[in-house]
């Protein structure tokens, strides 16, 4: 493994007394072997230093300076722009969302990475698994954004997230799906409250009941609905037909099962006596149903569940769920990163410690919780910090996935910076203040890196 990964790249030489660039230092020090002239050194460094100075260092100074001036850039605004970040509603949403992002996304990605790294260690094709999970790292956030726009499509017939969700939902909560179906005044049904319909008269065994409805577009009928059949009278049973009393092209008579009229397949029928359901049945493909003798003298009710709008799934990209949804796509991209780094760290953990714990009777969970995780703590910290820095600047995913209507709800600092700086009605003062805020937030990490490197260069 490359030692720079988690920190320890140092010259493999004995310590030099001080970084004194003098030719009198001991011959072992990592210094020039040719006795470089300063001019040559300058030639090697110049392109890098010019670019870094002009395009990285100077902009920092400019942004800090500009953040203290107002929109026009002419008058001094003091901390006004910074105050605006924490008072303006839109920007405040961005601050809040960024806080959610920085806490949730790295934690979830690291947790998943840890789980995957530990589990794949014991499987022979672990490398193939890692390849699959790591692959999204190679693609652009734009492509990932398009991929997840597709996943989160609202229509359950198009977006896989809602297709799965609706599938699960309907398994536990079926909806027969005849929204807007209703009886005509001439029909023997009347509204029964709460969206249900009941027969005007009680039904009798041996006399087929008729439950005609209208208001279902032929295209919305179940594809396997068959032409309705008049129910046959049966002794000791309440039979009947529920059908769509509507003939395409006209010519149908109300309250009569005409030849081309379809049965309301799957509609639920309940027999109600004194407010209690005594029997229930579901109509067959031709609309016929039969109820036991207990239903004799009851009113038939078509409960409201028959007429509920079909469940349409979660509005993933609506105001409520848009941020969690986008965080999900981020985790999809970056869990592999956490996994690979943690797996590398895991490889360096001495096996004997885990074996010793197992010999002492610890179960796998205890070994994981008490031995593996504490030993991996430094790697986990590096992964978390790296992801936090990364998440702080998140832009592309939010910009691509959040539709225009919920972009304000999904707002994050980098997106707000882009809008404040380059959008219509740009305010460079606020844009620069956000840039400086982002920079301030990474300064602890910057100092940490510098201190670590200083220890190593001094060594």
């Amino acid at each position: 493994m490359k030692s720079t990964a988690t920190g320890g790249a140092a010259a493999p030489v004995p310590p030099a007394p001080a970084p004194a660039p003098d030719r009198d230092t001991p011959p072992n020090a990592r210094k020039s072997v040719t006795g470089t002239r300063k001019l040559i050194a300058a030639g090697f460094l110049l392109p890098a230093l010019v670019l870094l100075g002009a395009l990285v260092v100077y902009p920092i100074g400019y942004s800090v300076y500009r953040s203290f001036f107002d929109k026009s850039g002419d008058s001094f605004a003091g901390l006004g722009n910074y105050v605006e970040i924490f008072t303006d509603d839109t920007i405040l949403t961005a601050v809040r969302n960024n806080a959610i992002w920085v806490v949730v996304a790295p934690t979830v990605a690291t947790a998943l990475g840890l789980i995957f790294a530990v589990l794949t260690e014991r499987v022979r094709w672990g490398t193939a698994f890692k390849l699959v999970v790591f692959m999204p790292m190679a693609i652009s956030m734009l492509a990932a954004g398009i991929i997840f726009r597709l996943v989160y499509e609202q229509d359950p017939n198009r977006g896989v997230a809602n297709a799965v969700w609706v599938g699960v939902h309907d398994t536990f909560n079926e909806s027969a799906g005849f929204p807007k179906a209703r009886p005509l005044p001439v029909h023997p049904l009347k509204p029964g409250g709460g969206g249900s319909f009941v027969t005007k008269e009680p039904v009798r065994a041996g006399t087929p009941a008729q439950l005609p409805l209208v208001g279902v577009a032929p295209a919305k009928m179940p594809s396997d609905a068959r032409p309705a059949a008049a129910a046959k009278p049966a002794d000791g049973e309440v039979t009947g037909t529920a059908w769509l009393d509507f003939t395409r092209g006209g010519g149908g008579r109300p309250n009569v099962v005409d030849p081309e009229e379809l049965g309301l397949k799957g509609i639920k029928v309940e027999a109600v006596k004194d407010g209690k359901v005594v029997a229930s049945a579901t109509a067959a493909a031709d609309g016929t149903f039969s109820l036991p003798a207990a239903a004799d003298g009851a009113q038939l009710r078509l409960p409201a569940t028959n007429f509920r709008e079909p469940y349409n799934g979660v509005d993933w990209l609506g105001p409520t769920f848009v941020t969690p949804a986008i965080i999900g796509s981020y985790v999809w991209m970056w869990a592999g990163f956490a996994m690979v780094l943690i797996a590398a760290g895991l490889a360096g953990v001495p096996r004997e410690l885990m074996e010793a714990a197992r010999v002492d009777g610890a179960n796998e969970w205890q070994v994981f919780r008490r031995v593996t995780v504490p030993l991996l703590a430094p790697v986990l910290a590096v992964v978390m910090v790296t992801l936090m820095i990364n998440v702080l600047k998140i832009f592309d995913l939010v910009f691509i996935i959040a539709p225009g209507s919920s972009q304000d709800d999904a707002n994050v600092l980098a997106l707000q910076l882009y809008r404040s700086s380059f959008g219509t009605d740009a305010d460079l003062g606020v844009g620069s203040a956000i840039a400086v805020l982002l920079l301030l937030l990474v300064i602890p990490v910057m100092l940490f890196n510098v201190r670590r490197m200083r220890r190593e260069t001094r060594r």
Partner: protein, 328 residues
């Protein structure tokens, strides 16, 4: 260096668990049907039948779990791929999974139309003309500076290097406004050259950091031997340091290539709006997402092909780069 990075350098011992579980699988099933057969079959040191059964059962559950996770992880990408292979009317009518019921829907028409679309083909070319120079320049300038920081003497060497390390985590967002003003003043705003310069500048801290640390580990004796043969500083750099730095330079190159190819934000602001790179060209279609899936799905897939090819061809270098870049 960096031989087994991707596998996390799994030591030989840990592979044993997997092998054990699978061989144990077959034998334990056999004995399970005839528990009376006694322990004679296996070597005496094997764990008890019960614990082996538990181990193989949990091993099976683990494998099923991992397969499900892998499928789950692949599903979004497969969805994009299959959507890109369907007609726009099919996409509008039903989900991509319908293709498993109606494979006849598969068509390459979207791709044919995409390759006829001059905006898209032009943007692919723009992506190349931005990415290749930005990668080459970062490698060249970064290794010059990395060598200087590793092996040259000049006042304040370590101090300068620490400044570069400090710049590692500077967010690009800080530079967007100032640099666009600067580029505007010198007339390279919205040009390919400007995008390249921006990417090079922000790629340099990591390049210098990575290469300086790598070059510093080159054995001093090698450099001295070359020096005794009369090599000057430049010769030393091109004939000794660069060849030895191959692995690090490869990692850096792959990493930078993917970074620039995948970038959207910088190109969105600095690229020539008449010849944007593929990411920006696709981004411009996103507003009409519902109507444009037949362009966006194949477009996104084409834009992914190059990074994916690079990724699969150079996994090891990529992973090394990613791990070294953990601070970025």
């Amino acid at each position: 260096m960096s031989t087994d990075v991707y596998d996390g350098g799994v030591p030989a011992g840990s592979g044993k668990g997997g092998a054990d579980a699978s061989t144990g699988d077959a034998s334990s099933k056999g004995t399970a049907s005839a528990p009376g057969a006694g322990p004679g079959a296996g070597p005496g040191a094997r764990p008890s039948l019960g614990s082996r059964l538990v181990a193989s059962a949990s091993g099976g559950a683990l494998r099923i779990f991992l397969i499900l996770v892998a499928l789950f992880w692949l599903m979004p990408t497969i969805g994009l791929l299959l959507s890109s292979l369907r007609d726009s009317s099919d996409i509008a009518a039903s989900g991509w999974w319908e293709i498993f019921i109606a494979p006849a829907q598969l068509t390459t028409e979207n791709y044919a139309r995409l390759l006829d679309n001059e905006v898209i083909t032009g943007s692919l070319l723009s992506s190349v003309t931005i990415t290749v120079p930005a990668t080459v320049l970062v490698v060249v300038i970064g290794s010059l500076a990395g060598y200087a920081f590793a092996w040259m003497d000049f006042p304040g060497r370590d101090w300068w290097f620490l400044v570069v390390v400090g710049l590692l985590v500077v967010p690009v967002q800080v530079a967007l406004v100032p640099v666009s003003k600067l580029f505007g003043a010198i007339g390279i705003f919205e040009t390919t050259f400007g995008v390249v310069l921006f990417h090079v500048a922000f790629g340099l801290p990591f390049a210098i950091f990575l290469l300086r640390n790598f070059f510093a580990e080159i054995p001093r004796e090698l450099l001295e031997a070359a020096r005794l043969d009369g090599a000057g500083e430049i010769r030393l750099f091109t004939r000794v340091v660069l060849p030895l730095g191959g692995p690090a330079i490869a990692s850096l190159g792959i990493f930078q290539f993917l970074w620039v190819w995948n970038d959207m934000l910088v190109a969105l602001i600095f690229a020539d709006s008449k010849s944007p790179p593929i990411t920006v060209a696709l981004q411009q279609q996103v507003r009409q997402f519902g109507n444009n899936i037949d362009v966006m799905a194949p477009g996104a897939f084409v834009s992914m092909v190059i990074p994916l090819v690079v990724f699969f061809a150079f996994q090891r270098q990529f992973v090394t780069g990613v791990m070294a870049g953990a601070v970025k």
